[in-house]
Symmetry: C2
Subunit: 298 residues, 2 copies
């Protein structure tokens, strides 16, 4: 049985790099309002699994790139993720008061500050990709396009809209999968493709393998989230367990049962790993990450 | 006395181009949720003066560029402006129910939809600059950087934060000018510099003239807004007159009086026009636009 030790070290190293870069780019003077700077830092530097950043690093290295090539897109995608959490937590949206074991931004500050902190983190993601050194213009543009398409009206934000619209409704499995794909899957896949771009790889087969792996692991990630929401407790999750049912949101366990949900996540994980079958040791981290994603406890 | 006929035609032509492009990029299927697509269209296609877009076109042509070169940045800056209006109108922010003579987005839809429509218009601005044809990568990156810096934590959004923080407080003229500069001025200046980039001009003196013109006209624009808020009526403005005092927001007329505010706007306009003194007829439109900005009635 895999004890994930090597993976844990790898993840900690990626997390360290991401936090270091975010700390640099989110200095206390990052905003022309100290309150706004403070709220941006509270949100974006307040821990988090950094799964998306780790996937950027892992995909970049899978494609032969060095970690430093992935620093910028890894930070940018975490900023987009952070912005989405702040806005999703707002009273008009999911109305959550706890996130990562701390008060959500609109509780710690207020709603106006939370809206603006989300907005400025959102802008900063694109600003960094356009501003900071180390990337050629063509790669920057490709990254910005990819990230915007995954985050916007046909991606993450649309998933949140569909999620809210379907609250209280009975969903088909297909509809639930679409919501998950938009809300979580698109950004997970974008993380992998950002890693591909960061490595400056020119290998369409490898790019396709990453995309296919991402599409499966994005759904598996969300199924695991659904499972944790049913089985996890508030302390371990850093947010209230059972929040999906509180929000009358349909989940995989509710639609197909807990055991079948676990099986489905396992199946997606196996498929994702098989897709990387041709790549030998190079793909070890990605395979281990797949295993981690479906067995994580928070 | 200038009757603005030529200018009016020019503005109408720019507005027509902008609306046409926005209509194309905001099709009814722009989002994976019809409700979200509808709200995005409601906000971004719902009229508006399109001043920022017009400034992009005018600056582009001032630098020898053709209108079609300015289409993309003109649309992008209007999307950023539109996103900011939706979020500024939210109950937690300025709590406005009327905008451009119509119900604001959170009234016409609901708060969650308004937050997400703002978010997706925001993303779309950067997506378009990275996605649509007609620009080389270097110009795209420069435009994205410029727009993000003007909109983000040291620009428009920071201005909104300062504006909210200072609500009910007595401000110095200097502090009020900073709020105006951040909240309005930075995007006005960005519009002019986007026009410069769009024209692919390489003329630092001209670029500097546009920036200086923009800095003055941005402030003049906001002073005129303050004046209209005091003197205008709801029908002409498309929003309730007196909304600044309702929000306990400090304004130029309150700080220095109505007449001195008019004088100040006039002075900024004259300075802006003088800055363009070396450019003869080429600068006619920009000079006329300056006159329009300080005399507009809505």
């Amino acid at each position: 049985m895999n004890d994930f030790t090597a993976l844990r070290e790898y993840m900690a190293a990626c997390r360290g790099r991401t936090d270091e870069h975010l700390e640099r780019w989110l200095s206390p003077t990052v905003a022309a309002s100290p309150r706004l700077a403070d709220a941006m830092r509270y949100v974006a530097l307040g821990g988090g699994k950094r799964i998306r950043a780790i996937l950027v690093y892992a995909a970049c290295e899978f494609c032969g790139g060095k970690p430093e090539q992935a620093d910028l897109p890894a930070a940018a995608i975490e900023l987009v993720h952070a912005y989405s959490l702040v806005h999703d937590d707002l009273p008009a949206m999911d109305d959550d008061e706890l996130r990562r074991g701390r008060a959500t931004c609109h509780i710690a500050y207020d709603e106006a500050t939370a809206i603006l902190a989300g907005d400025t983190l959102h802008t900063l993601a694109f600003e960094l990709l356009a501003r900071e050194g180390g990337l050629d213009d063509g790669t920057r543009v490709a990254m910005i396009r990819l990230l915007a398409q995954a985050a916007g009206a046909n991606g993450m934000a649309a998933g949140q809209m569909q999620d809210i619209e379907s609250s209280g409704a009975e969903l088909t499995l297909e509809a639930l999968e679409e919501i998950h794909w938009l809300k979580t899957g698109r950004l997970i896949t974008a993380a992998l493709l950002l890693g591909y771009l960061a490595a400056r790889a020119e290998d369409p087969l490898r790019e396709q393998a990453l995309e296919d792996y991402g599409n499966r692991m994005g759904l598996a990630f969300q199924i695991r989230d659904d499972i944790l929401d049913v089985t996890g407790d508030s302390e371990e999750l850093g947010k209230p367990g059972g929040s999906d049912s509180r929000h009358e949101k349909e989940t995989f366990p509710e639609l197909i049962g807990l055991e079948a949900s676990r099986e489905q996540a396992g199946k997606l994980c196996r498929q994702a790993c098989e897709l990387l079958g041709d790549y030998g040791e190079r793909a070890d981290i990605l395979r281990q990450l797949a295993g981690y994603i479906i067995s994580r406890t928070h």
